[in-house]
């Protein structure tokens, strides 16, 4: 918990009005925070606060209009290896590939598939409780299973940082709880740094070490909150008074910011 892995410095994003009369839209204004090694950090905010945009800027998928992102990565020297694992809201699995081939897709792009990699992916399949579905096509899988394959794919090449953009937002509550627990398990056993975007207060409290609370108009950081609920956390955690207190505090904070 000492060295930052991701450092966000004064990031802003302005969408230029497309017509002459249209006003510029400030999506993000002077966002700054650090994410430390091994930490589980959530970006929490209502829709429209620019949290997904921020994640895409951090991962260099879209450019920012100001500020700087620093990534401190051990395998930075290896140019071909992606710096992050990225999990999208939709699974973004390639429908013409089986589950296993989807998880191995990154190696095909890096064009250095080794036997060891395949073993590693098969182990991840077990960790994600996906064994037996290696040869299924995405259309044969449920939403929750697709998302698990997407997580395995993101972890397949062993990145240090895992970026997740509302990965469970489209799932039903039961599947969502299930995948939250699975994600915590995976996080414990792989020791990744996770930056997780969500609009669910309870999900953020349950999963995170820290929550960056964001507000809208313009998208900004309201508070950087530590969640001091002991781990391991399980379903009982959600019934504890401290959990309830955090949820209440966040709810009030988000409500007042409107």
């Amino acid at each position: 918990m000492n060295e930052p892995v991701v450092s966000v410095n004064n990031i802003s994003k302005i969408f230029k009005g497309s017509k002459k009369k249209a006003k510029d839209f400030v999506a993000l204004e002077n966002i700054s925070f650090d994410v430390f090694k091994g930490e589980f950090v959530s970006l929490l905010g209502p829709s429209g606060c620019g949290k997904s945009t921020l994640l895409k800027i951090i991962s260099n998928l879209i450019p920012s209009t100001g500020g700087k992102i620093d990534i401190y990565n051990e395998n930075e020297t290896e140019k071909k290896i992606p710096q992050f694992g990225f999990v999208f809201q939709d699974s973004v699995l390639l429908p013409w590939r089986t589950a296993l081939d989807n998880a191995l897709f990154p190696f095909e792009i890096m064009s250095n598939k080794k036997k060891a990699d395949e073993k590693h992916v098969k182990r991840l399949f077990e960790l994600a409780k996906l064994n037996g579905f290696e040869d299924s096509y995405p259309r044969q899988l449920s939403g929750g299973m697709k998302q698990r394959v997407a997580i395995v794919r993101a972890l397949s090449y062993n990145p240090e940082i895992l970026l997740m953009d509302e990965p469970f937002g489209a799932l039903d509550a039961i599947t969502r709880d299930e995948l939250n627990n699975l994600l915590l398990e995976i996080w414990h056993s792989t020791k990744k740094t996770i930056l997780f975007v969500t609009h669910s207060i309870s999900e953020a409290v349950y999963l995170s070490d820290r929550i960056i609370v964001m507000g809208t108009k313009p998208g900004r950081v309201l508070e950087d909150m530590h969640i001091d609920i002991p781990r391991p956390r399980d379903e009982d955690t959600k019934l504890s008074p401290e959990f309830f207190n955090y949820v209440k505090k966040l709810r009030v904070m988000l409500k007042n910011s409107e």
């Binding site: 071909k80 992606p82 992050f84 999208f88 939709d90 390639l94 013409w96 897709f105 792009i109 995405p138």
Partner: protein, 256 residues
Amino acid sequence: MKKKINSKLLSFLFLVLLIALWKIIVTVFNVPTHILPPPEDILFKAIQLVQTSVLQTNFLATFEEIVIGFSIGAILGMVMGYILAKIEILEKALSPYILIFQTAPKISLAPLFVLWFGLGITSKVVLIALVTLFPVMINMILGVRSTDRNYYYLLKVLKANKFQIMTKVELKNALPYLMTGTRLALVMSITAAVIGEMMGSRAGLGFLLILGNEMYDITLLLTVIIVISLLSFFLDIGMKKLQEKLLVWHESTQKG
């Protein structure tokens, strides 16, 4: 399984019924042979055409035109389609011409091609390639354009190069569209072959049609029409099988 057999049997019975009806009408109403010959005449004619190898020669001539013309048109259509899909400004600039050319009946060019390229195979190949090109190209453009933006994000995270983006995602994504386009093009190319041959040729099924027409040989005409129909039927079935094989992963081939 039982149901499937039943439907096949029913199809066959339907055919038998149709032929029987044909025979009955011809006999009862005493239809002259030069208007509608009885079904068995068609069979005899077919046997005779095969024995003198007239049918094989002309069938192969048409088949050859289709294979060559269709291949050229499909390959050109895919290449041009991909280029137009990727270079949006080019597609926008050319789109009015593409639209005019696409909607114009290309068959009307057949007499022109016969004058330009002669009575040989070239004039038909050019015509077939032309009718094949458009549906393949248009569907290629649609298919590549329909690539989900998230796929591009994923590829960017994985640091994929342009060639990988094309081969591993864009072309795969375009495949269902492309199959629709090529299937459509194949049926059109048979029409183009026959009409091209009718405009002027020395061989082919269309040539036989003109021959039958000029000699008032209804039996020959009907035989050739049946052969042409069977050709398109089996080519389409072949295409459908190919489609099912290539698109096992796609919703369209989902079974049960």
